[in-house]
């Protein structure tokens, strides 16, 4: 089987063209091994997939072991070692997409195209599969076709897409409204209510000076918006004070735009409509810590944002806001590069992100050392979330005291919530920290909510009796996801979706997470098939404790959170599926004898499982 696949691979690929295709990519990245992920991505864009001879050629050119190149190529789900079809359709598989009917639409598209999910059509034209949340939950069901995002799928659109694919029409000629992505900003507060001209924040920071800017950051008490809530000023100060390593060592600013937490899409909106504020924030961070280079790590699912972002960077360069001598200040230099991810949730973890930036598999590092002392290429590095950097720009303009006056004592400023699910108006809502869940639910028109998943699958599931709690680090912390589930939703299926998400996204490095996420997903499937027992429930609790204690990084530690929460708060949704309180096999035992029955021609009672077939003398 494997041999046959390999042969097909060779046939589809013209090895003579390899050098022509690969050389420009290698040259553009100066044959730098640290650029491996970018090189693979661009090579795949040209060839359609990553055939074996190409990996060999890349390994040779970058002087890397062949196994390392293949290891990286095999790690990211958007890299293909076999041809994925000229049209690669990926349905977003977040629970909110499912609630909008994505599973039915996937089946419908497969039927229309006469193909099986996950398999390339025989003519190599198309493949249809699922991918983790694409960050378009407010306008789903969403899908990606060759990396372009399509929104608001409906039966009619699916039928039309099947026709377009069969007619082999280029994506550029598809109806433009399919690609329309709205910002859906529903509530504006301190950040979204102002139109920020490019460079204004940067000029304000320069006028303050680096030390004073750092003092404002401290005064603001800004905490990281990526979820963990670490105080930003401490990060910046540590990186500013940390010595660089080696003679040519420099500091780096990294923006984490790997917004992979299912149900989160605030960074998408900030990158679409507030990119200059973000770039200002990155530049201010660079100015403050003494870094001349910034890296924006953009998740592969947002690749469609790339042209606009590049254009913005070009305009900043023309306006003297990027490059050398920014705002006319000699010696003040800052460059921003955009790196694209390739479909790996774990890269949202800052050290996995750094690994990916350095061209390796996205496996989290052991901390300490923390990135502030040894981050990108071992140099002092500040890694901040998109929203955090935008807030830093705000603080440059308005000052730390103003910022500290918003929100609550320990959670200053505002928070962007990405609201999706069973609400009338899904979209982005900006609130000062401290807002109650109730208030948010009222504002977005969630009439009959029974639960809210705050902070995505790795966050917390709140039941009705907890709606008076407030969004703040003191109470319910969040990276921004806010998925609402109406009374008619099955919370068991919600948790099962999350269990499969974590199984898919586990990086595979540490055994507790690699095996544990798989065991948990199997337990959930067994319960879903009506074969579950109290035993599986106990297993879930047991694995939850084990993953919490023994996983290498936060992904594994959080992987059972949604199951734990829903088992506490929505236990009947599980219990009504259990078939007994003891134990049942996950498969049909009698069916397991069918092959032997057929081969022996037997049909006597002992050839079946059932009461009649019990051994004599054995109590049932």
């Amino acid at each position: 089987m494997r041999l046959r696949e390999a042969m097909v691979t060779e046939e589809c690929f013209d090895a003579r063209r390899l050098d022509d295709l690969l050389l420009p990519v290698l040259e553009r990245h100066a044959r730098e091994p640290g650029q491996l992920v970018q090189i693979l991505r661009e090579a795949q864009e040209r060839i359609g997939y990553l055939p074996a001879p190409l990996l060999t050629a890349i390994a040779r050119a970058l002087k890397l072991p062949r196994a390392q190149v293949e290891g990286v190529a095999g790690f990211y789900s958007f890299f293909h070692l076999t041809p994925p079809g000229r049209y690669r359709v990926l349905f977003s598989d977040n629970i909110t997409d499912r609630m909008l009917g994505s599973a039915e639409m996937l089946d419908r598209l497969c039927n229309r195209l006469w193909i099986e999910r996950g398999k390339v059509s025989e003519d190599g034209l198309v493949s249809v599969d699922t991918t983790s949340c694409t960050g378009l939950c407010d306008q789903g069901p969403a899908l990606l076709v060759n990396g372009r995002a399509l929104t608001r799928m409906s039966a009619e659109r699916i039928d039309r897409i099947a026709e377009l694919i069969r007619a082999q029409l280029p994506l550029a000629d598809w109806p433009p409204e399919y690609f329309r992505v709205d910002d859906n900003i529903r509530r504006r507060d301190s950040l979204l209510s102002v139109d920020w001209p490019a460079g204004e924040a940067l000029q304000a920071a320069i006028a303050r000076g680096a030390e004073a800017m750092l003092a404002e950051m401290k005064r603001s008490n800004l905490r990281g918006r990526g979820g963990a809530g670490f105080t930003t000023a401490i990060k910046w100060e540590s990186a500013r004070r940390a010595p660089c390593h080696g003679e040519s060592g420099v500091r780096y600013v990294v923006c984490n735009a790997d917004e992979g937490e299912p149900g989160t899409f605030k960074d998408r909106v900030l990158l679409s409509s507030y990119a200059d504020l973000l770039f200002d924030g990155m530049t201010i961070a660079g100015f403050t810590i003494g870094a001349a280079r910034g890296l924006l790590y953009l998740r592969g699912e947002y690749a469609w944002l790339l042209p606009a972002l590049r254009e913005k960077l070009e305009r900043r360069r023309r306006d003297g806001l990027l490059g050398t001598a920014l705002c006319g200040q000699p010696g003040l230099d800052f460059e921003i590069d955009i790196h694209l991810g390739a479909g790996a949730y774990v890269c949202g973890e800052e050290t996995a992100l750094l690994e990916s930036l350095e061209g390796r598999r996205g496996i989290p590092r052991i901390r300490p050392p923390f990135p502030v002392s040894a981050g990108y290429r071992g140099q002092p590095t500040v890694v901040n979330n998109v929203e955090t950097l935008c807030k830093a720009a705000l603080i440059a303009c308005r000052g730390g005291a103003w910022f500290a006056g918003l929100g609550t004592k320990q959670s200053t400023g505002s928070k962007l919530l990405s609201i999706s699910g069973d609400v009338e108006t899904p979209g982005i809502y900006e609130y000062p920290f401290g807002v109650s869940v109730e208030q948010v639910l009222r504002d977005c028109g969630a009439g009959n909510a029974q639960a809210v998943q705050v902070g995505g699958p790795s966050g917390i599931c709140l039941a009705m009796h907890e709606f008076s709690r407030s969004i703040a680090f003191e109470d319910v912390p969040t990276a921004g996801a806010f998925m609402v589930f109406g009374a008619h939703r099955d919370m068991f299926e919600v948790a099962r979706n999350f269990a499969h998400f974590f199984r898919h996204e586990s990086c595979g490095f540490c055994t507790p997470c690699r095996v544990g996420t798989s065991l948990v997903a199997d337990c959930m499937d067994k319960i879903a098939r009506g074969l579950g027992t109290q035993y599986e429930i106990n297993q879930v609790f047991k694995i939850h404790r084990l993953l919490h204690a023994a996983s290498h990084c936060g992904l594994g530690q959080a992987a059972c959170n949604p199951l734990f929460d829903t088992l506490q708060k929505f236990r009947p949704a599980y219990e009504r599926r259990l078939c007994s309180l003891d134990f049942e096999p996950a498969f049909d035992l009698d069916q397991a004898l069918a092959a032997a029955r057929q081969m022996t021609g037997r049909d006597d009672p002992a050839a079946h499982f059932g009461l009649a077939a019990r051994l004599p003398g054995v109590a049932s």
Binding site: F583, P585, L589, L593, A596, T600, A606
Partner: protein
């Protein structure tokens, strides 16, 4: 009723003799051999337990027991019946050895199709003359796959190893008899 009450309170007091049953299913009896490697400690053991069904007693069916030790995985219908009998009669069921825990050597057949296997062995192999696939109702039918026992019934504890050493088995059983949660330390859990 009165007898039961007395037994129960004696059990709570922890001085009742416990009943132990053992069986080898799709295994090689290696774990049982290893069990015998506790040597003279067997005398100490029979001071504290009575044996129910086991190769040591030749009792054919398991009665109500405190502890059941199962060696080997599940490869045929009879294995399933014996295992279910143990589960329904033993308060504590222990998988002992690689085959019971993971399927072990017998599970190596799992990547082969059972029908093709039977056909090749009994019908088409070069040295077979007028062969027939055995179909006597006395014979247990093989399952299409070999399973570890935890896929068929709930299992309370495992003693890993191929086979686990006599010392490991002794440590495990004495822990259990003394009321400690059994725990094999690192020296008894590595096999290189």
């Amino acid at each position: 009723m009165a007898t039961e009450m007395r037994v129960e309170s004696a059990a709570v007091a922890g001085n009742r003799k416990l009943r132990l049953a053992t069986a080898s299913l799709a295994g090689c009896f290696g774990c049982h051999m290893s069990f015998l490697d506790i040597d003279e400690r067997l005398f100490a053991l029979v001071e504290r337990v009575d044996f129910d069904r086991s190769p040591l007693t030749d009792i054919k069916h398991c009665g109500p027991c405190d502890i059941g030790l199962i060696e080997g995985g599940i490869c045929n219908a009879e294995n399933v019946h014996v295992l279910r009998e143990f589960r329904s009669h033993c308060k504590v069921l222990i998988a002992i050895g690689a085959c019971a825990i993971n399927g072990g050597l017998p599970a190596q057949r799992n990547h082969l199709d059972l029908g093709q296997c039977l056909q090749e062995v009994y019908l088409t192999a070069p040295d077979v003359v007028s062969g027939q696939i055995p179909n006597d109702p006395e014979l247990p039918l093989p399952l299409d796959k070999v399973h570890p026992i935890h896929e068929i019934v709930r299992v309370d504890y495992v003693i890993p190893g191929c086979p686990p050493s006599g010392d490991a088995i002794w440590k495990f059983l004495t822990d259990l008899l003394d009321g400690r949660t059994p725990r094999l330390g690192h020296p008894m859990l590595h096999f290189d």
